[in-house]
């Protein structure tokens, strides 16, 4: 099986795969996540929403919304 992009939704402890290459903003749209509510990281790097992610790479989607 060909490697795909692994997307981890850190707070929800969920993950899914999408075929690459694909822009961060398109991955977020597919996951139903609004871009102003998250930061997207790859290791210790932050990615801009137009960054193109390749097959075999992993990204973390981290919610920035705090409540209370």
């Amino acid at each position: 099986m060909l490697p795909m992009i692994l997307v981890r939704l850190t707070q929800k402890k969920q993950e899914f795969e999408v075929p690459g290459p694909r822009r961060v903003m398109d991955i977020l749209a597919q996951a139903g996540v609004r871009p102003t509510t998250v930061i997207v990281a790859q290791g210790k790097k932050l990615l801009t929403k137009d960054h193109r992610v390749e097959d075999g790479e992993t990204i973390d989607v981290i919610s920035v919304v705090s409540g209370g």
């Binding site: 850190t10 609004r34 930061i39 705090s66 209370g68």
Partner: protein, 327 residues
């Protein structure tokens, strides 16, 4: 995408609301400038201030502490252990680890030791957890600040928090709350120390980006007591608007703070009118004049401060339960 400031490095943070994108180094410059401008605009802090920074273990408060230290302010952290199983331990760990990494030891107040852990207090007093939490935190902010001779208390409320609060106040026409909402609440004397919100110009996305890029390890889970918080509904509504019209949140909140806005009064005027946050309805004495609580001596605008009234309700309920159990 290249950084719009240095035009050399790859951008890491894109900010449509500022029509900009920054590499990590340039983002730190941008972020600190935003905080400095927020402090300057309303004279939130003076160089000689001793700042008590209230830290929860979340991104905003730890980032606030970090940036205030970077800007050269004399700071100490205050962590209030709310007594929430699991969550409080994990948040405290983050605070202690961050503080240690900066050579600091935070002041820690444990509500279980004070006899008023939030979950039990809310059950006994039959009040919302967030409401109880607010009363208890305000009490300890003032008490610790007075005991430690701090000149100001700083909290990590950001632009999203304040815009959401503003939307809620407007939707319900809470005119009294609207008139008091401001990043600066003046010193009311008698131990009611000045309270400031230096992050009022920066968004949650910006504080999260700053925290991540600085390697600040913060607690990412939400307080289990705040799952149904109405502020999340207002944040959701505003972020939908922000996605379509970047910058609207900033215009909304900054426009509200405009001195010419008739919906709000200047902080000094609120004080003259007794509009401090701790002002209470029942037993209010002379408007705008805090006095010592008849029970604990803490500053209050009522005969007995809201913390003591809460503690009394909790105590009574405990006694009733103990009576039923033994009877």
């Amino acid at each position: 995408m290249k950084c719009k400031r240095c035009r050399r490095a790859e951008a890491a943070v894109d900010l449509p609301s500022h029509h900009s994108a920054f590499c990590p180094d340039c983002f730190f410059v941008f972020f600190q400038r935003q905080v400095k401008e927020g402090i300057r605009k309303f004279r939130l802090l003076a160089p000689e201030d001793r700042v008590l920074v209230c830290v929860s273990g979340g991104k905003d408060s730890l980032v606030l502490w970090d940036v205030l230290m970077e800007l050269g302010y004399e700071t100490e952290g205050l962590y209030i252990d709310l007594g929430i199983d699991g969550y409080s331990e994990r948040s405290k760990e983050k605070v202690l680890a961050y503080a240690a990494s900066r050579g600091k030891t935070p002041i820690v107040v444990e509500l279980a030791r004070e006899g008023i852990p939030i979950p039990e207090a809310a059950r006994c007093a039959r009040m919302e957890e967030c409401s109880v939490c607010g009363t208890v935190k305000r009490y300890f902010f003032n008490r610790v600040a007075a005991e430690g001779k701090f000149t100001v208390v700083a909290t990590g409320h950001n632009l999203d928090d304040e815009a959401a609060r503003l939307l809620g106040n407007l939707l319900h026409w809470h005119r009294d709350h609207l008139s008091r909402q401001h990043p600066f609440l003046p010193d009311a004397g008698e131990g009611l120390v000045r309270k400031v919100k230096p992050l009022w110009r920066v968004s949650e996305l910006e504080t999260a980006s700053y925290g991540f890029l600085k390697g600040i390890d913060y607690v990412t889970e939400e307080c289990p007591m705040s799952e149904d918080a109405t502020s999340l509904v207002y944040k959701e509504a505003l972020s939908r608007i922000e996605d379509q019209m970047p910058g609207t949140r900033t215009v909304f909140y900054q426009g509200f703070l405009d001195p010419g806005n008739p919906l709000r009064r200047a902080p000094e005027a609120q004080l003259r009118e007794g509009g401090g946050k701790e002002r209470e309805g029942a037993g209010t004495v002379e408007a705008g004049t805090p006095r010592a609580c008849a029970s604990c001596g803490a500053p209050t605008f009522a005969e007995v401060c809201s913390f003591c009234r809460l503690r009394e309700r909790v105590q009574k309920r405990r006694e009733q339960r103990a009576g039923r159990a033994s009877g």
